[in-house]
Amino acid sequence: MRWRPPGQGNPAAEAHDVRVSARLGLWLATAFALCLATGLLSHLAQHAPWWPGRPAQLYRITQGVHVLAGTAAVPLLLAKLWSCWPRLSARPEPAAPRGPAAQRLGRRWGYAAERAALAVLVAGAVLTLTTGLVGRAGGAPGPFATAPTHHAVAWLTVGALAVHLGVKLPRIRDGLATPLGRPAPERVGLSRRDVLGGAYLSATAVVLATVGSTVPALDRVSPLARRADRGPQGLRVTRTASAARVTRVDARWRLTMQWPGGRHEVDLPGLAGLPQRTLRLPLTCVQGWSAHADWTGVPLVDLLAAVGAPVGRVTVGSLEPVGVHRSSVLPVERVRDRSTLLALRINGSVLDLDHGYPCRIVSADRPGTGQTKWVTALRVDP
């Protein structure tokens, strides 16, 4: 007798019913859609010059949603795979034996393509969520760059998902349109409602366990949250000075500003002697945590005016010797905005070296990767 996986053709295995799979798939697709939309926004916030500086909380919200939707997708994906797995090994429905050869061949190739897309979808979804979870904790799942891999494999997954949806849409519609029904007395394992309820409960639990990273008021009930207040001067640090290979900044430090036809240097007392402005702004890391702090510094536009430099796009250089964070670009709109500071103090104290001493960029609604620390050079392109 041929072995048959539980649930395949067994109506008593309610967990593997298409009504369960379709409903889990709908929630999973919703979570993935949220992740894709907010992930794209995060990509734009880091790379597109037109990302708005207002409202100041925008990136904090979109990135928080990104991380929470991705976290919720973990139990939904596993429940969905558990619900579908007997069908993963299912053979194609036999073609009409007397049909034209081309039709039989087409069906066979269609089946192979659908299975290939499904394999990419499963493998891609697992790797996308893994790189997201590990990256959120500041780690790396392998010798490859976590963020670019997360970005690439997300596109792969979304593409495979679209193919899967395109092929399975009639079946999904049927599954969603059919009521769940009452549990059968002779069922094997959990009922359809139990499986769905369990998946939703798990998703809620993991979101609650991590939401404190985004909503600091809830960090007491979120044991998996990255507490934003754990760090020097009461603010978390993602990239420390030692990780950036910035060991010390001595009295010889100067801020060099260059523009076409001009150059100016200023030391730290000179910078501290300029009119300062204090603003309460959120700092949001791409890892999902965010926190407010009182930042004190010189508005960049005021600094340029003080040294006679024109207003334009500013390329910020750091003391970091290597890496993608050693420079960033501030578009002219950001430079004109008086809430873009070259900050010297945090919460009233001189910046800790890990926070970017002697000075760093702080600009509203900008990912942490663009808030360049250990600033040593500004190049203005009018």
């Binding site: 959120r136 494999v153 596109w155 979304v158 679209a162 193919v163 395109g166 369990g198």
Partner: protein, 126 residues
């Protein structure tokens, strides 16, 4: 059909991006291993976990089966989500915090189950 074509275009874009991230043979091997591991999850790991879960559930009284299955599944998921944070010393995730959360979760789950059993008994369902 349009959805399939859009999907294929996105797949192609994703493959191009992924190829750009694997710059050395070591990186390519690591990425391939992760993708293969993702495929093995539904083929090997989930049936194994599900089979063990079903066997354990059969040893429990029927009213507790769903509770234990959902509780164990959620606990495993929380542990899975916590692993990267527990492994990173600067993440601030601790075993104490995780265990306290699980304790509250199980207390609420068992409390809700007990209430349901008592309500069903009052209604004479079993």
């Amino acid at each position: 059909m349009a959805l399939v074509l859009v999907g294929l275009a996105l797949l192609g874009y994703g493959i191009r991006l992924l190829a750009g991230t694997a710059r050395t043979p070591g990186q390519a091997v690591a990425l391939g291993t992760w993708l293969l591991a993702g495929l093995l999850l539904p083929v090997l790991v989930l049936p194994l976990v599900g089979g063990v879960g079903l066997l354990v559930a059969r040893t429990l009284p029927r009213p507790l089966r769903t509770t234990v299955a959902v509780g164990a599944g959620t606990s495993g998921l929380l542990l899975l989500v916590a692993v990267p944070g527990l492994a990173a010393p600067t993440a601030g995730v601790t075993w104490g915090g995780l265990l306290a959360f699980l304790g509250v979760f199980w207390a609420l789950l068992l409390g809700a189950t007990q209430s349901r059993i008592a309500r069903d008994q009052r209604r004479g369902r079993w």
